[in-house]
């Protein structure tokens, strides 16, 4: 196991494992040595966390800026405000008549946003020589998105909303969230609806910006050719944020019974999503649930259904999807599409879930699932954007940046009893969302 470097930032870096960790400390038996590059973090006086993980492979910097305003915090009648605000940030003029998005692109870089349950992430990637300028542009746009573009963005958002509504996978995911996250903005469609978007005003945008403009909850996570001057420049940009805390995110109503919801779409074959409660990423049950995800057969990583500025909605997703960026999380298994024996697949899943809750899973199977979970964990973070995402999530944990290296150790420590316990605790009271072909007679 490598030691995390004594980096350029002294800081409160190792809040680390000595503090009250939500998860058990990893054991150090015969587990494989592995670690991410050395990372540091510091907390500014106003609460902003700056995390940094340098690597010298290419002179490119990637930075994720997390602001504490995401899907959960959207008011019920303002669904879509998060995506419209984020789109406005990208279209804000920052260098004369050049927008933030254009400024990054002209330099060969890019800037994008992703809506997460509890925050909005802005990702900037560029040559190290352009970083200070473009990062300043991003910070300015974040604080003052250009509302003169609101009408155009509303039109675009409505088009996106209408398109996403037709996607059977998005429809199934939305139905699941509608049940399991009632009482929060996460129960609403990522993209909003044409009705709510049409009603969004400049004042709504300003209110949403104000809701996330706080030191606490803001995280800057830097990857790549990060140097001390670049980190200092990043810290300087955010040191003027108010030293305040955002309003607590609403919590969803508990799911107390089974639900089955049906919708119709123009699809050739039906889709089914079967959803269960799951632990969040900082829970002590996180690692066992990652192994369960591997046992079920992961269909993709936690980003698979993200609403982003630069990715299309998934057209084909079969398998388990573990949404752990919100608490409680969800384990959703998608079945269908081209699968002609959907009934059998649902029965197989139910049988599989029942056996996870039993005690007949072999050591061999668990060992292989742990390897798969470990592989999925590492191989899902190879690009700077994913590495910076994980770094930021780790920095926000009670363990600090050490979190990202502790998770693999915890995965390897998972025992059969952990799987059974976690399955029994979470894999009940399922929500079933069914998307049927719209054609008559089916």
């Amino acid at each position: 196991m490598k030691h995390r470097g004594a980096g350029v930032l002294c800081a409160s870096a190792a809040l680390a494992s000595m503090l009250l960790a939500a998860a058990p400390a990893p054991t150090k038996s015969s587990l494989p040595a592995m670690s991410f590059a050395a990372a540091t973090q510091m907390k500014l006086a106003n609460g902003v966390i700056i995390a940094s993980q340098p690597s010298a492979d290419v002179p490119v910097v990637g930075v994720q800026v997390f602001v504490p305003g995401g899907l959960v915090q959207q008011p019920g009648n303002k669904a879509g405000i998060a995506s419209v605000t984020a789109a406005l940030v990208l279209q804000t003029k920052v260098e004369g008549s050049t927008t933030l998005s254009q400024a990054a692109a002209l330099a060969g870089g890019s800037v994008s946003f992703t809506l997460d349950p509890l925050d909005t992430r802005y990702y900037l990637e560029c040559h190290e020589a352009d970083f200070a300028r473009l990062f300043h542009d991003l910070r300015v746009a974040l604080g003052h998105p250009d509302v003169s573009q609101l009408a155009a963005q509303r039109t675009q958002a409505i088009a996106n909303a209408n398109a996403l509504t037709e996607n059977p996978l998005e429809a199934a995911y939305a139905m699941v969230r509608q049940v399991r996250y009632r009482g929060t903005g996460f129960a609403l469609p990522d993209q909003g609806s044409s009705v709510t978007i049409a009603g969004l005003s400049g004042a709504d945008v300003a209110a949403f910006v104000a809701s996330y403009t706080h030191g606490a909850g803001t995280i800057v996570a830097l990857e790549g050719a990060v140097t001390q001057p670049l980190t200092a420049a990043a810290a300087h940009e955010f040191e003027s944020l108010p030293a305040s805390t955002p309003a607590p995110a609403p919590t969803p109503n508990a799911v107390v019974r089974l639900h089955q919801i049906v919708a119709h779409r123009n699809v050739p074959a039906p889709w089914v999503a079967v959803a269960y409660e799951a632990p969040g990423q900082y829970s002590s049950d996180f690692a066992p649930m990652l192994v369960i995800e591997a046992l079920l057969g992961s269909g993709g990583d936690v980003h698979s259904f993200n609403y982003t500025s630069n990715e299309l909605a998934p057209q084909d997703f079969v398998g388990a999807y573990y949404q752990y960026e919100v608490s409680p999380g969800s384990m959703i298994v998608f079945l269908g599409g081209a699968n002609e024996n959907l009934d059998q697949s649902v029965r197989d899943l139910e049988t599989g879930i029942a056996r996870l809750r039993g005690d007949k899973i072999t050591a061999t199977l668990i060992s292989e699932a742990k390897k798969t979970a470990l592989g999925d964990y590492f191989l899902s973070v190879t690009r700077f954007d994913d590495l910076a995402w994980l770094l930021g999530r780790s920095a926000a944990s009670q363990e600090g940046v050490a979190f990202e290296n502790n998770v693999p150790q915890r995965i390897m420590s998972v025992k059969a009893a952990d799987i059974q316990r976690v399955a029994r605790r979470y894999l009940t009271k399922e929500t079933i969302a069914i998307v049927l072909p719209a054609s008559a007679g089916r």
């Binding site: 991410f36 290419v58 990637g62 079969v318 056996r355 050591a363 590492f378 191989l379 973070v381 190879t382």
Partner: protein
Amino acid sequence: MRRFFQRAHAARRLRCGFIVSMVVLMLAWTGPASARQDPASPASDTALATQPSLTQFPDGLTLVARRATASPTAAIEIWIRCPASGYGAPRPGLARLTALAVVDEKAGGPSLREQARMAGAQIAVSVYHESTEIALLTPAYLSPALLDTLVSRALRPHLDQAAFESARQRLAAQQVASMDMPDQVLRDSLFAQLFASGPLHDSSFGDPKTLTGLTLDDISAFAARAYVPGQEIVVTVGDVDASDVSKRIAAVAPGAGPLQVMPESSIAPYSDTPISLTRESLNAGGVAIGWVGPPIADERAATAMDFLSDYLAHPSEGVVTKVVLGADASTMFTGQFVTLRKPGVFYVTASGAKLDPMLTSTLIRDAVRAAVRQQLSKDEFERARAAFITHLLRDMQTSQGLADNYGWYFAQGALPYSPSATDASLSGEYFKQVASLSPDYVFSIARRYLQVAPAVIILPRGAVHISGTR
């Protein structure tokens, strides 16, 4: 420069992975408990230089081992320089069938594919006109063991009937899937139009008829000729110990074999009269346009074409890209200069449910003409070159990105010219060539290669047979 076309396969791989997993979960509960140990092969913690280590073994095998530390993963790849359609009379799909058999060969135990899956790694087979790639992406701590497995199975493969049958089924499925991808269909058809013969003429997927006629003897004979050390490179990039890699490969490297001559691909006489595909189309219309460019031996000209490709057809910022997407944002547009021994090819494809192929063809050709009509101003050239360099570097941020570039340029006989053969200060031949570019030189290359008539392929929209048979 080479880019990648693997995203379209991702969903299909995930679906297969899930089905396999569910079957395992359904069947394995009743099996005996095993005392199999968890992976516990600690990776070396030795500090290593970040400079790539290039080794040429006595048998001719080439090794590049490069340390990259951004993520605790490693890309382990074997590239074989070989024609996709074989050495004699063309048998399209032969190299792909062989490579699929290599990863499905059990050799008395789990296959390479199964071992990768059980270890939590990912395996991919990519077959190009003049090279085959077998690649593993793995957590770094597993890389020594998986490297051993990969080189022992793939450097000098021995194939059996079961592996052949498995590979044949996979290739048949891939052939069907490839027909669902308009850009794949368009690209293959364009190359068939540009080249009259040789490996560049045929699709690497082959066709069902040829596949039916191929046997275990065919792929074994092909492997014996193609998979010889002098035509192979092992590339490891990531959190790996270069000296350890070298020792491991030296221990298992096979004996030398005779080098084979890559069959030539002759340029066809073509005009810019659009050729309509006669097969029944997908639910999309499409167009492909291609220009023959400089060979890789002319490094400066090839680099200039890479620059032009980026300027014209970058996925979001290319000037032609913007014209095409401005007309219809739902269009799938791709474009690149493919660096090849002789000659390279610059091509673009556009496809979409609403796309009018003829109109789009005109749109693209007009946009290219307008873009290369005059020399770029010095300021615009400098900005575009800086953006080009940043695009290149961003593509090289992962172990896979770095490894793939080494493999591709090895296969084209120009390993030192690989963009990956550089460091953070952008030393290396490729970036020196980029630095040497000037507005007037790039303009001269554009005039020479892009102001001539291209080959044009049209994929009619809707279920239409242009041949009139229906």
